[in-house]
Structure formats: C-alpha cells, structure tokens
C-alpha cells in the first residue's frame, strides 16, 4: 500500500509542476524585441567613455590634458597627448584615443577627471567586423570647433587675467589707502 501511496504522491507532484508551466503558457511573454524595441537603459550605464560638452567651452569639451585618467586607468586603454595653445593657461588635448577593447568599465577615469568632462556614450550594442572598430578617437566630434573654443578660452583667459589685474590693482589701491589712513 505504501508503494501505491508513494506513486500517487509522485504523480500529484508532477501534475502540480505541469500546472505551473501551463499557467505561464497563458502569460504575456516578457521578451523585449530588441532591434525593433529597446528596453530602457540605466542612465548610469557604463560604456565607452566620451568627452562631454561643457558650459565653460560651448560646443566642445573641457579636457585639459592633465593625464590623470591615463595614469589611473588599470588597463592602459587611454592615451592622450596634449599641447599648450598660444596664450592659454591650460593645456588642450591634441589626441585622445581610447582602445575600448581593453576597457573594463570601472569608471575610475570619471572619478579622477578634474573638469568632469568625461562621460559615457549611450551606444550599448556596438559590434564590429574588425578590431580597429573599437579604437575610438574621442576628439573626432569636436575637431571642427577646436579653434573657436581655443579662441573662446583665450578670451576667457584674457578676461580673467584682466579681472585679476583689476582686482590686484584695486587691492593695491586699497592697501595703499589703508596705509595712508594708518599714517
């Protein structure tokens, strides 16, 4: 008898399992039909890095080629060379290359960037036929506006310098006045 009971119990459990799959047969599929529709992606989704447009430099990035990101990158996937344009306090990058194939998406470069000009691209489904597809030239989109921006920065620098000078002059005058008052 025990054996028959056991078999009956087993059969009942199997029918129970079949009930679960049958229940899901009626359910709506959860599939996102990828190329046609795309599931929302996290706004923080890590990916290849890019230079983002900054307020201080309209139309362009504000990379100062400080090489912090290059230094901290654990997998050496960033390489930058910088130059100093005439009459500018800060450097500008001449080349900014990323070998995305080496990247481990740790985000350390974003942490160290002093001007917060690094961000992530939103292309999360990249694939390519050759290895060369993943050498990103991050300056590509900004190359045309580079000269204007340098000009703009120069302007800003000059303005800042002038302001500083004016301030210093004012301070000196104030000091002189103070000194005069004290006397």
């Amino acid at each position: 008898m025990g054996r028959i009971k056991e078999i009956a119990k087993g059969a009942r459990s199997l029918i129970g399992s079949m009930g679960v799959t049958l229940k899901h047969l009626k359910d709506e599929p959860v599939t996102v039909e990828y190329p046609a529709e795309r599931a929302p992606i996290s706004p923080l989704q890590r990916n290849a890095i890019r230079l983002i447009e900054k307020e201080e430099t309209p139309g362009s990035h504000n990379c100062i080629a400080c090489l912090q990101c290059e230094k901290i990158c654990p997998s050496n996937c960033i390489s930058i060379t910088g130059y100093r344009p005439e009459g500018l306090a800060m450097k500008r990058p001449e080349t900014f290359d990323l070998n995305f194939a080496l990247c481990s998406e740790c985000g350390l470069c974003l942490d160290v960037c002093p001007t917060a000009t690094l961000g992530y691209t939103k292309v999360y489904d990249k694939a390519g036929y050759t290895r060369a597809d993943f050498f990103h030239d991050l300056l590509e989109e900004y190359r045309e506006t580079e000269e204007q921006v340098v000009e703009h920065l120069r302007e800003a620098d000059r303005r800042k310098k002038a302001e500083r000078e004016a301030k210093r002059k004012a301070e000196a005058e104030a000091k002189a006045k103070e000194a005069g008052d004290a006397q």
Partner: protein, 375 residues
C-alpha cells in the same frame, strides 16, 4: 592533452577514463574532470583546473590598490558586488577609513540583492544540469529584475565596480528603492511557484535526495564553507561570526540542514534567498540620509607595512583577502581565499561510487565559478 594511461591488469580492461570538459555543458565553464569509470559508476575523479587562469593575484602586484578595483568582481562574476565591495572594505580596514552610514546601508542592500541573483543563477543552472530547461529561464527572468536594479545604481549588469575606498560611486535613486521593495514582494510569490515546480517534483527529489552526501569531517579537511557547510548542519556564516560592515545590526537566520546531500544544499540556498530578502527589507526601512563618500580620503592609498586579512561571506562561502603591504602604493601580495576552490577539492572524495548522472548534479549543487577557482 595526451596523457598515457597504463592498463595495469585485466581488471582495468572493464574500466575506462572519461574526459569531461573543458568544454562540457555542465562543468560550468572550463573545468575538466578526469573520471575513471566502470560502466556508469565512477571509480575515481580528478578535477583538473587552470583553464580559466587569468592571474588576478599576479595582476595585483603590478598595479596600485585603486587600480585593482575592477578585478575582484571578475574573480567571481556571479557575486561580483560582494567581492568588489569586500575588497573596498578590506582596504578601508587596512588604512582605517570610516564609511558613512548611508553608504554602509546601500552596500548591504546591493550585496544581498547580488546574493539573491547569484543563487538564482545557480538554481537555474543546477536545474539545467538536471535536464529541466524551463526553471532556468524563469530564474533568469527574476534575475534580470535584480540586474536592472543593480544596473540602475552601479551602471553594470554583471561585473560591478560600484564600491570605492570610503564609500560608493553613485547614490541610490528613489526608483531603485521602490523597485527593490517591489521586487521583494514579487519574488516571495515566485519562490512559492518554484516550490511547486521544482522542490515538490518527485523526479527532482529522486535525483537529489541522498545524492552527493558530504561527510562532516570533510568540512574540516577541505575547509568547506558557505551553503555547502550549512547543509551539513553547521551554522557558520561570516556575516554572523565576525560581522563586517554593519551586518551586526540586522536580524536574520542562518538556514541549516543536516543531511548534506544535493537536496539539502538546494534547500539551504532557497532559504538563504529568503533571509537575504529579510535583510534587504530591514535595510530599506532603516536607510538614513547623508553623504555616500567619506570626507577625508587619503590621496595615496598605502596601508602601513604589515599583513591584513579580511573576510566576507560571498554567495559561495568564505571569501578572504590576505593583503601583504610593504608600505607602498602597490600591494606586495594579495592572496584571495576563494570558497569554490575548497568546495571543489572535495570532489575527489565525494564523487567516487556515484553514477555519471550524479556527477553532474553534485557538481551543480556545490556551485562553482571557474575563474574564482583559478584566479
């Protein structure tokens, strides 16, 4: 791979060697098992590892403490959050860095979510090894929800690099908190469904009950930890024994079973998922406001000369980091004590005498992650 095997006697003619792996659907990656079989009965088994050796420990000696951050989550990619945050906690302890309250709570939430997702993946692949495809896809469905949540805060789906020395990269959003709470309620329902689909299923029970029994003395001999140890009836858990972070503030049980077979290891993990949800819910209720990064973070991360050991409870067991510092920014040596390696070592003693089909279920039940074994 030519390994010449001498046929010693006529008795050996009935037996044969079977090379299982490195490419085999149920060796969970690239493990290779050399099985000595008589018919389907296993006479001896030898796991051969190293097919996934990526030299994580060696890499640590070539870069500074910060640059090693992306690595821990790749050592064990299934519980990457626990590993990477564990590494941060180890370094914080070594240099004596205080972490803000809020960051600690978020770390606990993320860790426990990651533990659930790791157990879910184990659950799915275990069933896949046993031949049940559908539970695997249900698990991935639930796991996908956790990944969405973790993606929302950390920006990665699998190999998280969310922790930093002294805190976290990003603060959590309301979406995340609401989503986590929603997930917990929905997942309880799903667990009941799994119970009907799998736990009660007589085929599953027959395949797991009494299979792959680990004798308790193995625990000491090999240093078994995690769910495998708890299925032996020993309530050991790093979160309780030597609480790290703020785990001492939460109420949770350590589920144990006594038979130490595949079925018990299964039940322990299912119960652990429930406990993890309990912790998550408590942490959500208590989550304070405040900063997520410590105020004063030294620019130079360089622990004082000496040796440091720090352990966390990963989804697979006791994960320890042994750090030797020579006082510079670059670690002298980092040794990772990983649970799967110890658990896998028992296979030599557990597998002989079982059937080939059991090999698959036993191997599945101990939940190994290959890069973590090979480091």
């Amino acid at each position: 791979m030519a390994e010449l095997i001498q046929i010693a006697s006529d008795e050996d003619r009935d037996t044969f060697y079977l090379n299982m792996g490195p490419q085999h659907p149920s060796t969970h990656g690239v493990l290779r098992l050399r099985l000595h079989l008589k018919g389907e009965r296993i006479l001896s088994a030898e796991p051969i590892i190293g097919y996934s050796h990526r030299a994580h420990e060696k890499m640590a000696e070539n870069r500074n403490y910060i640059q090693f951050l992306p690595n821990p989550s790749r050592v064990d990619y299934l519980s990457g959050m626990i590993y990477s945050i564990g590494y941060c906690q180890a370094i914080e302890k070594a240099i004596g860095l205080e972490v803000p309250e809020r960051a600690e709570y978020i770390r606990v939430i993320c860790n426990e979510l990651n533990r659930i997702s790791s157990h879910l993946l184990w659950f799915g692949t275990f069933l896949l090894d046993l031949g049940g495809v559908t539970p695997f896809l249900y698990c991935f469905d639930d796991r996908e929800k956790i990944l969405d949540l973790l993606d929302l805060v950390s920006g990665s789906r699998l190999t998280y690099c969310y922790g930093r020395f002294g805190g976290l990269v990003n603060d959590v959003t309301d979406d995340f908190l609401e989503g986590t709470a929603r997930f917990c309620t929905a997942f309880r329902e799903r667990l009941r469904e799994y119970d009907r689909l799998v736990t009660q299923n007589v085929i599953f029970r027959n395949r797991t009950i009494g299979v792959g029994v680990m004798r308790p003395e193995l625990a000491q001999q090999f240093g078994i930890t995690g769910p495998c140890l708890r299925a032996m009836g020993m309530a050991r858990d790093v979160r309780r024994d030597e609480p790290y972070g703020i785990y001492d503030r939460f109420e949770f049980d350590i589920p144990t079973r006594t038979a130490s077979d595949c079925f018990d290891r299964y039940l322990v993990r299912i119960a652990e998922m429930e406990q993890s949800m309990r912790i998550v819910e408590q942490a959500l209720a208590k989550l304070p406001d405040g900063p997520i990064m410590a105020k004063k973070i030294p620019r130079k991360i360089a622990p004082a000369k000496g040796e440091y050991y720090f352990a966390v409870e990963s989804a697979r067991g006791h994960f320890g980091m042994f750090i030797v510092s020579d006082g510079s920014e670059i670690p002298y040596r980092i040794h990772l004590r990983t649970p799967s390696f110890a658990n896998l070592s028992t296979m030599r003693t557990v597998l002989p005498g079982t059937l080939l089909a059991d090999t698959v279920s036993i191997l599945g039940s101990i939940d190994i992650v290959l890069p973590e074994i090979d480091r």
